[in-house]
């Protein structure tokens, strides 16, 4: 973290600064952590987000079956209602769907896919946006003009439209029958290409400000190459806003993936994400089997809401104007 982001009120003493515990102490002493402790809503949101990540990581340990493995599904067990209802059956806590898939296990595995696609998508978008933003801001001139014009044009189009188009084109180039893993890759690329603009604009803005500062001139004077100055010296000073964008973008990326899967342009039924589960469940809504769609829906909404709350808090906490 740069000093622009975490202004330390207490200067840690030199002896403590060398040991590992002092790093933790500094983090606990920081303004950010103070504002985190002050907001109960944020703590709850953080706890729920962490819980979702843990559920996704330990999905195979926590679930009663592997919902991606057709051999483990039995049609005998199809359309069982949740455990607390009259027709509920152990071990199917949240009931089963048409194929005898345990809804709870399917949610855990689906959550894993949604989070993997979301995180990878944000990383791709961030890498792309930060690189282009650094180049545009540092080099300037015609390169800057070209990159920012592309960004302007793309910004007028909603991300979901771009993601759908990328998805459709990829399917057309690679053939319509993609296996589940390639679909996952296509989704990550579609999300990455839809969300890079905001990073590029923010980084470019910060770089333009930082570029005129003395430390950059000093680095240029001692003969450091431009890429090194950009990555080691300028980039760390732009990380605050990027962190905020990345958090809010994670929620957006998860929504985009879920929407694509819901529209039938994302993860296939054999390897469902939360969005796919909702699409499948939606077909049984009129038959009265509400649990097939309700629980994946609640999981998705809870995940997005808690990440959004975290992002909101982070934006306020990192904004020096609001202190």
């Amino acid at each position: 973290m740069s000093d622009a982001v975490v202004p330390h009120r207490v200067e840690p003493n030199a002896a403590a600064a060398r040991s590992g515990t002092s790093w933790l102490k500094r983090a606990l002493d920081s303004d950010i952590f103070y504002s985190f402790r002050r907001s109960r809503m944020t703590m709850v949101a953080a706890a729920i987000t962490v819980l979702f990540f843990l559920l996704a990581i330990f999905a195979s340990q926590l679930s009663v079956q592997n919902p991606f493995d057709p051999a483990q599904l039995q049609l005998m067990n199809s359309r069982i209602s949740p455990l607390w209802t009259a027709e509920g059956q152990s071990p199917f806590l949240l009931g089963t769907d048409e194929q005898g898939r345990d809804v709870f296990s399917a949610i855990l595995y689906g959550l894993r896919i949604s989070l993997v696609v979301g995180v990878l998508g944000v990383i791709l978008a961030g890498t792309l946006g930060i690189t282009l933003g650094l180049i545009a801001g540092y080099v300037g001139g015609a390169v800057d003009g070209l990159i920012m014009r592309i960004a302007d044009v793309q910004l007028t189009f909603p991300a979901i439209l771009i993601a759908l188009l990328v998805n459709g084109v990829a399917k057309s180039v690679l053939g319509n029958r993609l296996d589940a893993m390639s679909t996952l890759g296509v989704l990550v690329i579609a999300i990455g290409l839809s969300f890079w603009v905001q990073y590029a604009r923010t980084v470019r803005g910060s770089v333009m400000v930082e570029k005129s500062k003395d430390y950059v001139a000093a680095a240029q004077l001692i003969g450091l190459p431009a890429p090194k100055i950009m990555l080691r010296h300028v980039l760390p000073n732009t990380m605050g806003p990027i962190l905020v964008i990345a958090t809010i973008n994670l929620a957006l990326a998860i929504i985009t993936e879920a929407t694509l899967s819901f529209l039938g342009a994302g993860m296939p039924d054999t390897m469902p994400s939360l969005g796919t589960l909702i699409r499948i469940g939606n077909n049984y809504l009129f038959a009265g089997e509400w649990w097939i769609v309700a629980f994946p829906g609640i999981a998705l909404a809870g995940l997005i809401l808690s990440i959004n709350l975290l992002g909101d808090w982070l934006r306020d906490a990192l904004n020096p104007k609001l202190r």
Binding site: G168, S172, V173, T259, G288
Partner: protein, 326 residues
């Protein structure tokens, strides 16, 4: 002013040409169009004949010019799945989408402004807290989940509203409208709410923020000092000044309303352009995808251009800054 308008218009045309290049490359290079038209066991000679008849063996620039001149005349080729001209399909479905988008926008504006004004004037009431909770939900819940929730409530449980389709439509020339029949209006309610909720949240937050800002300014204090009624101050002076950004945002958002209609139309099986586009993506029907991209871009670019120009007319303060390259 004229120079500004001209520059923006040229920029808009540039964007449309760029989108045209993308649409053309999708059409031409994403998969072989011939394979989509002929069957699997068509002999090679026949394939060549089809290729020639479509002009696919011409040089690429020639093909591009032909595609572009056709597109300008709203000829987008033939759909792979429906075997019909894409322009017919789009024209048939455009009224449904535009009607839905217009209803959603009106709904979002009316309720967004009302809720925004109320929550700015009465900051600590329960109703304001409720509005803020609704706005958080509007931003956090994916559109399709809201749609499913509404269907479950009003179609499955209560049975009040239809869950799919447009109901009975009346044909006026080539335009079809659901606004004139009872079943058409009933069918419009849930999709409009689903589509408008996000915009409503956006407008509500914007109006609230703008109102709070305006209420702190000197001219409002002066109006109070003049002894005007609170009502005149709030609605005659304060609200009026918040409306310029609101109308701008609502105008700019109309494009994304049309794009987001893709999701709403899928949930409610609304026979509009969005549903057509989703089916095209699922079935890799490139001519429809390319045509939809061109149509939506045209709408976006036109709206952006009009809003930009209107904005400088409405707000003279911007005119001094527009000389710098945007």
């Amino acid at each position: 002013m004229l120079a500004f308008t001209l520059r923006r218009a040229i920029q808009a045309i540039g964007v449309m040409i760029a989108v045209g290049v993308i649409a053309f490359s999708m059409f031409r290079f994403a998969g072989d169009p011939v394979n989509q038209i002929v069957s699997l066991d068509t002999p090679a000679a026949e394939r060549e004949a089809v290729r020639k008849s479509l002009g696919l063996d011409d040089p690429v620039p020639v093909q591009f010019v032909r595609y572009f001149t056709n597109a300008v005349q709203f000829k987008f080729g033939v759909s792979y799945q429906f075997r019909q001209p894409v322009s017919n399909l789009l024209m048939e479905r455009m009224p449904a989408t535009l009607e839905l988008a217009a209803c959603a926008t009106v709904l979002a504006m009316v309720f967004g402004i009302l809720m925004g004004v109320y929550s700015a004037l009465r900051r600590d009431t329960i109703l304001t807290k409720f509005f803020q909770a609704v706005s958080l939900i509007g931003i956090s819940l994916p559109t399709f989940l809201i749609g499913i929730l509404l269907i479950y409530l009003f179609s499955v449980t209560l049975g009040w509203l239809p869950s799919f389709g447009r109901g009975d439509v009346v044909r006026i020339g080539w335009w079809t409208t659901g606004l004139l029949t009872l079943s058409g209006l009933k069918a419009l309610i849930m999709p409009s709410i689903t589509l408008g909720l996000f915009q409503m949240t956006l407008i509500m937050r914007l109006v609230r923020a703008e109102m709070l800002e305006v209420l702190r300014t000197d001219y409002i204090r002066f109006a109070r000092a003049r002894g005007l009624t609170t009502r005149a101050i709030h609605f005659g002076h304060a609200l009026k000044n918040t409306l310029v950004p609101v109308i701008t945002v609502a105008g700019l958002q109309f494009g994304s309303v049309i794009a987001f209609a893709i999701i709403t139309e899928t949930v409610f099986q609304w026979p509009g352009m969005g549903l057509l586009f989703v089916q095209a993506v699922q079935n890799v029907d490139i001519p429809i995808m390319a045509a939809y991209l061109l149509m939506v871009s045209l709408i976006f670019v036109t709206i952006n251009l009009v809003v930009d120009i209107l904005y400088t007319i409405v707000d003279p303060r911007l005119r001094s800054t527009i000389s710098r390259p945007a």
